[in-house]
């Protein structure tokens, strides 16, 4: 029996990659090729497929992978906003602890321009790579926002005056500080999560449970809690 009990695991490239590979190695998976070949996507002999983090729930939901590892930020962004709306239907089995980041609302240092806009114009403009998380946060706090979706370098948006605030993921706050932005609100803390396909969770129950038990038994460092924080600016993939 292979180290992953014959299961297929979707592994995220990018910021969570190292933590994930460390975890697989701690489980006894042969990871040297996975580490060295960053152009290969399918590692059939060890039951691993690699992809960008935001694609992990897609592959797991469809059953192309039994299990996957991705950030809570990705799961929140793809989750249903309201009952019945239909988000990605995957099971969240375990908080792996590594890749710890905080989703924050930030704006330019000094008097908060977002507050000023809200007071004078009744609405703040807000740039983000996470439009659904941002919209939900504004809705839950009873404020109106015009959400501007950008694909990269969110910090640029308030500096050019296009928006008054941003919602983004930060680990250390360095990038924010460098761009003269301050954190105004912390929305949610995000870590790496282990997710499962709904049908695999039943039909491959014993394999999944055995893997879960071994994951829970791993010492904290091996579960990635000792791994470095997620580097800045490497979030949604």
């Amino acid at each position: 029996v292979s180290a992953t009990n014959g299961l297929t695991i979707a592994v995220p490239r990018g910021a969570l990659f190292d933590g994930t590979v460390d975890l697989l190695e701690a489980l006894g998976v042969e990871t040297s090729e996975l580490r060295s070949n960053d152009r290969k996507l399918l590692f059939q002999d060890i039951g691993v497929i690699t992809m960008r983090p935001s694609d992990v729930p897609t592959y797991v939901e469809a059953g192309a992978a039994d299990l996957g590892i991705t950030g809570k930020d990705v799961l929140l962004e793809q989750a249903a906003q309201r009952p019945g709306e239909g988000g990605r239907e995957v099971y969240e089995l375990l908080d792996l602890g590594f890749g710890r980041c905080t989703m924050v609302l930030a704006s330019k240092d000094g008097p908060d321009p977002a507050l000023a806009a809200l007071r004078r114009l009744g609405v703040m403009r807000l740039a983000t790579k996470y439009p659904r998380i941002a919209a939900r946060h504004m809705e839950e706090t009873g404020r109106q926002a015009e959400i501007v979706e950008v694909k990269g370098s969110v910090e640029l948006a308030p500096l050019t005056g296009m928006v008054e605030a941003i919602v983004d993921l930060t680990a250390t706050g360095t990038t924010l500080r460098e761009n003269n932005l301050v954190i105004r609100e912390e929305i949610v803390v995000c870590t790496a999560r282990l997710i499962a396909n709904r049908v695999s969770h039943k039909l491959k129950a014993s394999a999944i449970d055995a893997l879960l038990a071994r994951l829970r038994e791993l010492p904290e460092e091996a579960r990635g809690r000792g791994a470095p924080e997620r580097p800045e600016r490497q979030s949604v993939g």
Binding site: R13, G14, F17, D38, R39, K40, L41, L42, Q44, I49, T50, R52, E61, A62, G63, A64, D66, P83, G84, E85, G86, G87, E89, Y91, E92, L93, L94, D95, K151, G152, R193, N197, R198, V199, S200, H201, K202, L203, K204, A205, S206, D209, V236, G237
Partner: protein, 342 residues
């Protein structure tokens, strides 16, 4: 000219229709042989009538007004309309009543494989069929029907909708926290479940049970040494299992965390899984209080299969390439064009 149709709907052309028809004809034959008479009901119903049922996530999504200003909805399932039919048209008939249907239902879901907004459901409802015999009968019809279509590798996940609420009640979980915990379990967000338990101030043995019990699934051995708080539900499941013929019983996977996203289920609930599809093909359960809400109190059980999903699973099994069966393509030394870049 290309004229669009709404997202989540589609046209079914003759080649596919022939295959779908073969499936529904087979199912109809089995349902009829088990004494289930086929019914049609209107696709449009009064919202106020369907609102008597607690549909939760499966509530109707499409509304229109009629000429008198009444709000009509497109039905989102067939169980609630049949409960209405029973109370209205069979108010004094001797139970049990057995019905089957083949009908399109409409849901505001995110369209994806096997999950359209207009979905063809095939199912049965056994009204006045109490547990455990009624449940065993429904499971038997379900397996006979799937066997008749030629589906090979399917399994039935069997749980009880009352188990987790009973567990919460007996472990003194505050009322205020129960709904949110149950919603979290419906999503099988076990990380969230753990967080919410600690937020609600539940710790120690109670928290351990509330996390561990719903993750139990497998053969009859999962019914052994369950906590006393789950006794009623577990006894019910055991009784159902004992009534099943061997060929049906061996399809069953007990799943103590099974909760369906429809609110009206009261007892045993089940889902149908096939390795050829990453989502359940169908499911059902007991709804002992639903018919009573329409004015005739009768215990009941039923199931619905998504005909399109069944079709996909059959095709997948045939090719040996269903979702969970898929072996990556042998030549797939696929290299990333721009691996890991955004």
């Amino acid at each position: 000219m290309i004229h669009p149709i709404p997202s989540g709907t589609r046209d079914v052309l003759p080649e596919e229709t022939r295959e779908v028809r073969a499936i529904t004809d087979t199912l109809r034959g089995v349902f009829e042989r088990h004494g289930c008479g086929e019914v049609y009901t209107p696709a449009l119903e009064y919202e106020s009538v369907l609102a008597r049922a607690d549909m939760a996530d499966a509530r109707p999504a499409y509304r229109v007004f009629d000429e008198a200003g009444a709000v009509l909805v497109l039905r989102s399932d067939m169980t609630v309309p049949i409960a209405r039919v029973v109370a209205t048209r069979y108010a004094t008939s001797e139970p049990p009543l057995r019905f089957c249907y083949f009908a399109h239902c409409y849901r505001g879901v995110r369209p994806q494989r096997g999950q359209p907004r207009e979905l063809l459901q095939a199912g049965i409802e056994l009204i006045g069929a109490p547990a455990p015999h009624g449940t065993a009968e429904a499971l038997t019809v379900l397996c006979h029907a799937l066997d008749a279509t030629g589906l090979k590798d399917y399994r039935i996940g069997l749980g009880d909708a009352s188990l987790f609420p009973a567990l919460m009640a007996s472990l003194d979980v505050p009322d205020s926290a129960r709904t949110s915990l149950l919603e979290t379990l419906v999503l099988r967000d076990f990380v969230g479940l753990e967080q919410k338990l600690s937020e609600a101030g539940i710790s120690g043995e109670a928290a351990r049970l509330l996390i561990e019990v719903p993750q139990r699934r497998g053969g009859p051995e999962v019914l052994a040494d369950t906590p006393a708080q789950a006794d009623e539900a577990v006894t019910g499941l055991r009784q159902v299992h004992e009534l099943l013929e061997p060929a049906v019983a061996e399809r069953v996977i007990f799943d103590l965390g099974l909760v369906r996203n429809i609110g009206y289920y009261t007892g045993a609930v089940f889902d149908v899984y096939d390795p050829a599809l990453g989502t359940p093909i169908g499911g059902g359960g007991r709804y002992d209080e639903l018919v009573g809400r329409f004015g005739r109190s009768l215990p009941a059980v039923g199931f619905a299969l998504g005909v399109d999903r069944l079709h996909i699973a059959l095709a997948g099994e045939e090719r040996g390439t269903g979702a969970l069966l898929a072996q990556p393509h042998p030549e797939a030394t696929v290299t990333a064009r721009m691996a890991g870049t955004s």
